[in-house]
Each structure stands twice: as structure tokens, then as C-alpha cells.
């Protein structure tokens, strides 16, 4: 199933204006500490990394561990001096990889 994501941010901002980016992705973040009803440990399956890049430059990144809640939510600030493309990418266990692109207009 394709990953569900929600990206909340203005699509148009003023030059140099501070704005908030809030992202959420659907993922169970199975910690590896829980046991199933048979008593056996459920294997770890989490997202481990998030990156936000603007026109190829790193804006914000995160290294995630099992302590991050299911359906991980991240919020951080940004400001831009020109229009361009934001790329949000998530990586995780079992080769999980997902990318979203958002065009940002700077006036």
C-alpha cells in the first residue's frame, strides 16, 4: 500500500518570511519490543530517517528511533529566498522509502 502522508505548509510565502512545515506519515513504527499473542517478539519495523531538502540543499533532517510514536509527526520552521521545489523523503526498515515533492512559490 502506498504510504499516506499529510504535508501542512503554505504553498506561497514572502521572501525571508518564516513559516512552519508540518508532516505526518502513516506507519505503525513497530518497536521490536512488543510480543505477539504467541509470546514471540514482533520484529522491529520503523522509519529511521526523514529529510527535507530545498533545491538540493538540506533544510532539516531527523533520525528516528522506536520511541517515536506511530504515524510519525514532525514540525519545523523554514524560510526561503526564492521559489523552488521542496523534497520530503522518509527511509525505514525493510527498505522503506517514500518521497513527496511540493512546489514552493516565494514572492
Amino acid at each position: 500500500m502506498a504510504a499516506r502522508t499529510l504535508i501542512d505548509m503554505p504553498r506561497q510565502v514572502k521572501r525571508g518570511e518564516a513559516f512552519e512545515i508540518r508532516v505526518m506519515i502513516g506507519h505503525s513504527m513497530e518497536t521490536g519490543y512488543r510480543r505477539g499473542s504467541d509470546g514471540e517478539r514482533l520484529p522491529r519495523d520503523i522509519l529511521t530517517e526523514f529529510r527535507c531538502e530545498f533545491e538540493g540543499e538540506a533544510v532539516f533532517s531527523a533520525r528516528l528511533y522506536p520511541a517515536i510514536s506511530a504515524n510519525p509527526y514532525l514540525s519545523f520552521g523554514m524560510m526561503a529566498d526564492r521559489s523552488g521545489e521542496l523534497v520530503f523523503s522518509w527511509r525505514g526498515d525493510r527498505g522503506f522509502a517514500h518521497t513527496e515533492r511540493v512546489a514552493l512559490v516565494v514572492v
Binding site: Y33, S37, E57, A58, P66, A67, A80
Partner: protein, 189 residues
């Protein structure tokens, strides 16, 4: 009436054990539990954070394998590379009493400018009592107008959270907060 040890009652039934393990497993959370291991009491932790000697230098988590289970101190050292950490600038913001330890909103703010030549480069959050001490670490850039990040985390039990900030000049700062986590009372199975 005889006082039953609630944990004992629950752990004797496999179905209940699974529920109580919750998100992080293995820890039966109790609000306000009394004993704190010596290493983690405020004094010891403070000394370890501010008085790092060459012997503590470590740039990788693997180097602290002398501990059977990695300590909070070792986890923090893995992030700081053994560099000295000063208390200040870092505010770990979390509700003092949480509804449910599975999804706890957390914000960390570092009171420091974000200029290209002088900014917060990274923030890391550590848990005192989760099965694993690392919670998350964040890489920041001058494109972030303020050193502030929010997320949601899991807390196995009442405990202390520590935030460490690394500035662009290589210095490290810390802040911490205590949180009380209550267990859901009704057993759903």
C-alpha cells in the same frame, strides 16, 4: 483486605502481559515509582555531563560496550563525542502529566540564533527509562528561522527526558524535564 501486587496478577496471564507491554514492552509502568538507579540521579548525571574526561571520549555507540546495557550517559556521549556539555539554552517542552504514554507531544526549543555563521546544528533527545535511550536526533540548518522542533514520542513510564543541542561552533548545551505517565486502567486485551 489483602493487598495484591497488581503487576504480579497481570503478568501471570499472557493476554494481559501483552496489553501492559504497550508500545515499548518489558516495562510495567508505574507512576511515581520511588527508586532511581544511582547513575541516573541528578547529581551523578550532572557530574558525568559536565566533567567529561579523556577516558569518556567516544565517537561511536559501539565504543561504550563496557556497559551490559548502554547507559543514558553513554548514549549522550555517543552524540556529543565526549565533548563537555553545559546546562542551558535547551528547553524540553512536554505536558507534565500525560493521558497515554503512546503518543506524547514533545517540543524542543534552543534559545540561540540561527545565523549562517552561528546557529544550532543539531538537537538530540534522550529518554532515561525507555528500553532504548535515544528518542530522536535532528539536523538543522540556517534555513530554519528558529531552533525548534516538535514531534510525538512514546514514554514507557514516568521519567526524565534530556535534550542536547550542538551549536555550529561545536559546543554542547543541555536541558531536561520530568514527566509523569499513567497506565490505562481498563484492560482491553
Amino acid at each position: 483486605m489483602k493487598q495484591f501486587d497488581l503487576r504480579e496478577q497481570h503478568l501471570s496471564q499472557p493476554g494481559r502481559r501483552q496489553m501492559l507491554n504497550g508500545a515499548l514492552g518489558g516495562v510495567v509502568g508505574g507512576a511515581l515509582s520511588g527508586s532511581v538507579p544511582a547513575l541516573l540521579r541528578a547529581g551523578a548525571a550532572g557530574a558525568a555531563l559536565t566533567g567529561a574526561s579523556a577516558a569518556l571520549a567516544s565517537t561511536s555507540a559501539g565504543a561504550s560496550s563496557a556497559d551490559a546495557a548502554p547507559s543514558l550517559d553513554a548514549a549522550i556521549r555517543a552524540f556529543t563525542g565526549g565533548a563537555p556539555v553545559r546546562a542551558g539554552k535547551v528547553r524540553v517542552q512536554i505536558a507534565p502529566l500525560v493521558d497515554n504514554g503512546n503518543t506524547v507531544p514533545l517540543s524542543v526549543t534552543v534559545d540561540h540564533p540561527m545565523r549562517p555563521d552561528d546557529h544550532v546544528a543539531a538537537i538530540a533527545v534522550f529518554s532515561e527509562r525507555n528500553p532504548q535511550h535515544e528518542v530522536a536526533s535532528f539536523g538543522l540548518s540556517p534555513r530554519n528561522p528558529a531552533a525548534r522542533v516538535s514531534t510525538r514520542i512514546r514514554l514507557a513510564t514516568s521519567q526524565k527526558l534530556v535534550g542536547i543541542a550542538r551549536l555550529s561552533d561545536g559546543s554542547h548545551w543541555s536541558g531536561e524535564v520530568e514527566v509523569i505517565v499513567t497506565l490505562a486502567a481498563c484492560i482491553e486485551d
